[in-house]
Amino acid sequence: MNSHQNKIQSLLTAMESRDLVEVLRQNSLPFLAPLFDDQDDSPGIRVYTLGRFSLVKNEQAVDFPGRAKRKPMDLLKALIALGGRDVCQVKVAEILWPDADGDAAHRSLDTTLHRLRKLLDNDRAIMLREGKISLSNDCCWVDAWAFERVQGRLEFILDQLFNENIDNQEVVKLANIALSMYKGPFLGVSSSESWAITYRERLRSKYIRLLRKVGRYYEANGKLDLALEAYLKGLEIDGLLEELYQRAMACYCGLELRAEALLCYQRCVMNLRAHLGIPPSPRTEQLHQQLLNS
């Protein structure tokens, strides 16, 4: 068996033993990015995009107050928003220089790309190949991508455990990581770039979906306080998600916090009326009635 076959064999074994991340890391495979928010094991360039935008290079925050640095930062944001890998050069140019003609936009992109590489102090951080731009996972750690990796892994486990009352330590660990990573919308609340909206909405809906599943998992394991925490986090993001009010009311009830459950119902009624002009659903009213009768 040659070394390539050896690597594949060890990867297959690792997949079964769940040590895949460690084997990928040992083999220095280029597509590997750190799964967890681990400061000691991450690339020198760290980009924070959840709830804010911040660039940290070798543990030093990079300031970009002037116009000269603003465009390179916009390029970095756009690359992340568009997936970060094999992003079409023409598309990026259209987004960042919508009023420029094709050639002028292309020249501006070349200059800005050069400035960004200089700012990152790493020529390998951003690669341009056959009209496609990629941000290197080896050189750059992006919080949104790390969140998606943890979220994906956690959802996979939760789907396997569906309806099983198994107290899984990995779920607790990953849930804590994922929920602490999502600090707010992609690029922060004040960002209004239209090209960022699709990715922002995708991350937001993944986070809410994850909170629902994590909450359900904790409920199934009798950890009502943790389930409640997940549902309330979801309501902080979107106060019109009626299902989360229902689950939160059930958790309050299970924790014998009847007054809080009634307050939760009132909040639900007020928000639905104010923003959607509708009353609560029959299911919510049924829960409310059960509370009053208890």
Binding site: E201, R204, L240, L276, G277, I278, S281
Partner: protein, 63 residues
């Protein structure tokens, strides 16, 4: 062109046109609610929307 996010919060499974949600204007967060599929279409028409992108969840994003 302005960007808008469409969020559907309640939808009748038997009659999918019976739906309630909001259209959120990106940037300033102006919210407009709708209570049926027809109303949603009319609002989108008024906003001179030219393209609709559906994101992975029940939320719809409009460019």
């Amino acid at each position: 062109m302005e960007s808008y996010i469409v969020r559907i919060y309640r939808q009748d499974t038997a009659d999918p046109h019976n739906m309630t949600g909001t259209i959120l204007k990106a940037g300033d967060g102006t919210e407009t609610r709708f209570s049926s599929g027809d109303e949603l279409i009319n609002l989108l028409w008024q906003l001179e929307a030219s393209d609709l992108t559906i994101s992975p969840s029940h939320y719809r994003h409009l460019n």
